[in-house]
């Protein structure tokens, strides 16, 4: 279910009205059911994967911290898993509404397998549990952490990276003259898999580090994993931030509601009017098989920078806005990244929930910057390479990660060598120059990110130099909604940047604020007639 679809609007209204009428506990149950429905809208079967991931981390969290699960906790989580198996693997909801005799809604064989399989899984899990509780505390905690991370990484590997690694190994083997017959898994990537597995992992790691206590309420934890506004494309929220908001009754303030609505309008404006409005031009340039000029590469790359920002930050805005309607505060994911003056600042402003996750759970455990410059650069590079790979199972993402890692290392080295000498360059003109230069570097990174092959990277990069200054642009123009929308968004971003306050709009005179909001609404409706596209980050 896309945020920019009428289906979602209907869904949101129903869920919101139900939420407003229910007491706290029922609110959480309802939100969990709604979240599973939301996810199942894409592919019903994959909800089971999420249920499995949830059950494992719930068991692991409690076993790690307390060394035991109560009978009630065991029964609820096991029953939930078995029921999920039957419901999500044995039943095909769309067949409930079709009378086709060849496609029954309930597949007895699949139901049987799901029932037996989940029961067997629970039995094995209890076997492991019995072993775990006999271990001494530190060993138990470490083993539990390994189980949690292992399970999440196993799920990620199978569904996201298996075919990629097999293909890569096959290429290497062929280059080495070894004949291989590769095995491919015929699986599709579940939407948002990387987001909820990372969120679950952070829960287990934080418990291991004794930074949080596990929740003993299974359904609250399940809601933490599945909370629909942030389920498929983040922000990747930390347990310490989100769980406390889910386990206690929430106060829905008027300010939160209006802020939520504003964020939803802003997010839709970015996504529908701007991102979808430039997408056809980007697609055209990056899929062109004809001759490409310097201007084509420059325009295509800059528009992709616009598209990915408007798309992803738009999604995050909507997610945060929707969550606010339910009294939940999700973390800020973007803070005007294209105003960054250097790579370090960029990663403090772009996809903040991922970069801070990578910082906390990868970069710092690797040693962070507690060593020599070379040691720090090694850690930065490992973090960014894996961060690149997180975005997708393809080498161009790894290359993009390498590029970003190189920028960070170069900046780090420059800062260490030159000390604070760059601080001399102050003032608006220097700021604009730094921002402009770093934006150009960021855009080249987006070229690597968007290219569909290494050959295209090489070809486009070569055009940037060999065809420099050729302004013969052969691409189409963005949609009117994108051109006008980008002008409006640019003004808004500059105002926010100058004021240094994301809530700057609240200080505007009411008539001006009303005009701003209605302009965004109008341009969004202009964009609605564009072909709606899936959010880019769903595929990650």
């Amino acid at each position: 279910m896309l945020f920019n679809s009428p289906d979602f609007l209907v869904f949101l209204v129903i869920v919101y009205l139900a939420y407003r009428t229910l007491p706290f506990r029922q609110q959480n149950y309802m939100l969990l059911v709604a979240s599973y429905f939301f996810y199942g809208w894409w592919d019903w079967r994959f909800v089971f994967l999420m249920a499995l991931s949830t059950a494992v981390d719930f068991w692991v969290g409690l076993t790690m911290d307390r060394g035991k699960l109560s009978v009630r906790e065991r029964l609820i989580s096991s029953g939930f898993l078995v029921l999920s198996g039957i419901l999500f693997l044995g039943i095909t909801p769309k067949n409930l509404f079709s009378a086709s005799p060849g496609q029954p809604a309930i597949d007895p064989q699949a139901t049987g397998w799901a029932f037996a399989g989940t029961l067997l899984f629970c039995a094995v899990a209890y076997g492991i549990y019995e072993t775990l509780i006999r271990l001494d505390e530190e060993k138990r905690r470490r083993t539990c952490l390994i189980i949690s991370i292992g399970t999440q990484l196993f799920i990620l590997s199978v569904f996201k990276y298996f075919n990629f690694f097999v293909d890569s190994m096959e290429v290497v083997a062929k280059e080495a003259g070894i004949a291989v017959s590769s095995i491919h898994l015929n699986v599709i990537l579940p939407v948002g898999l990387s987001f909820y597995t990372f969120q679950s992992m952070s829960y287990a790691i934080d418990i291991y580090r004794r930074e949080i206590k596990p929740t003993h309420r299974f359904f609250d934890f399940a809601l933490f994993v599945a909370f629909f506004p942030q389920l498929v494309a983040g922000p990747i929220n930390r347990a310490r931030h989100l769980i406390p908001q889910l386990v206690r009754p929430r106060v829905l303030t008027f300010q939160d509601s209006t802020r939520g609505l504003y964020l939803i309008i802003l997010g839709l404006f970015k996504k529908v009017a701007i991102a979808d409005g430039v997408a056809p031009v980007v697609d055209q340039i990056f899929s062109s098989t004809g001759s490409i000029s310097w201007a084509d590469v420059i325009v295509g790359t800059i528009l992709f920078a616009v598209q990915i920002y408007a798309d992803f930050s738009g999604y995050s805005d909507i997610a945060r806005g929707v969550a606010k309607l339910f009294g939940v505060d999700l973390m800020v994911n973007f803070n005007q990244p294209y105003f960054s003056r250097n790579p370090r600042e960029f990663w403090q402003r772009w996809h903040i929930s991922l970069s801070s996750w990578l910082g906390d759970y990868l970069y710092k455990p690797l040693g962070g910057n507690r060593g020599t410059l070379g040691f720090t650069c090694r850690n930065l590079m490992i973090t960014m390479l894996l961060g690149g790979l997180w975005h997708g199972a393809a080498w161009n993402y790894v290359l993009w990660g390498f590029y970003q890692g190189s920028l960070l290392c170069a900046h780090r080295s420059w800062s260490e060598i030159k000390g604070q000498s760059v601080a001399r360059f102050k003032g608006p003109l220097a700021n604009i120059a730094f921002i402009g230069m770093f934006f150009a570097l960021t855009c080249y990174g987006w070229l690597l990110f968007r290219a569909h092959s290494f050959e295209q990277v090489a070809s486009f990069s070569s055009i940037l130099f060999s065809d420099f200054g050729n302004l013969d642009y052969g691409g189409a123009l963005p949609r009117p909604s994108a051109i006008i929308g980008l002008a409006v968004l640019g003004l808004m971003e500059i105002t926010q940047f100058r004021q240094g306050d994301a809530h700057y709009y609240q200080k505007l005179p009411l008539p001006l604020l009303g005009f701003l909001i209605s302009t965004m609404i109008f341009i969004t409706f202009m964009g609605m007639s564009n072909e709606p596209a899936q959010f880019i980050y769903f595929q990650f």
């Binding site: 229910l22 300010q255 409706f525």
Partner: protein, 393 residues
Amino acid sequence: MSLRSSSTSSSEAGAEVRRALLLLSWIIASLVGIDMAINTVFSYPADPMNTSPGKFQLYFEYGRSSEAKLDRMMGRDRSNSAPISLAGWYDPLEVQDNPKRLNSGIVTFYGMSHSVRLANALNRTSDRLVARSVGAPGATANWAYGAFLRDLGGGKSRVVVLSLMSANLPMINTMSPFTWNVSFPMPYTADRFYVNNGTLSVVHPPYTSFEQYRVAFADPAKRAAALNFIAANDTMYDDFLVRKTALDNSSLFRLIRRAYEQRTERQVRTSVFGTRGFDPESDQIKDANAVVRDFAMKAREGGMIPVVFIVNSLGYSDKLYGALAVTLDSNRIPYLSSHTVVSPDDPRGYLPDSHFTDANDDQLAKALASVIERASGVEPKVKFLRSGLSASK
């Protein structure tokens, strides 16, 4: 749980609510203002003869209802009406003859602009064949077959060519472009064919000429009856898109209608055309195969050679050919599928308006001449290097 203000006093909460209501009023007032400004600055020319309005004038008009647009196209009489409203009628058929070379073997084309362009290309490239075309802008396959049945080769054709295009094949169950192309509606009508107990049946439209249309639309009762008839027989008819309302005057509402139209059209397309190509179980594909079969039979009964021209639109690969292949093969119907000459996945083979480039039209015409000559038992004059040229067996 109730919606509570974070403020401590009820007076502050009341102030917040008042501020929100005031903001809402400003938003509504601004929307109305923007709406009126758009209507003023980008007002669409009222003159039906004005065929080239500005880009933004067009942009904000896409979502106006078909009925409102058709009304605007209609002048006092034929000479004062928009030229597009005169095109595509069955009665009389719009025929392009080539009077200079009447002694040659006449090939009559039935279909959309691709078909007319191919006819022109055949006239350019062949000295044995002369093309005659019967066309309508954006004509669907049902329109083309209806035109063929009314013309039956004009009584003088040796070969008849029926054109089908993948981009508008999902609309084969419609009766007029104004139901499925609300952005650029045209009033002409088409026969609706459907398979009934294995045989092809037809529903004729309520009016088939510009004059009949004028009469039908001039009288509210007749107009309602005509639209109701089309609504009952056209699978894409939607009152929300077709019928005019006072909301047509709002540019914002027109944008909403345009978005709804895009969504509806997409749903119809995806119900017929998916990742595996056209769904052979869909009504549209069943009807298309039946139309092709019937066309061949009728042409042969009239002593003419039937040829099917398959226009594989950009991005549709050769899936339409795939959807018709069994019927073409089992009925030994000569055909030319464009994918054998122009790759449907390479934009360079197409013009920005989705037609084939002139050079490709010429190549297609040569390929068609070859198909016709093979079907006539004559050795083709031009040898083609491309393999897989779709000649009949």
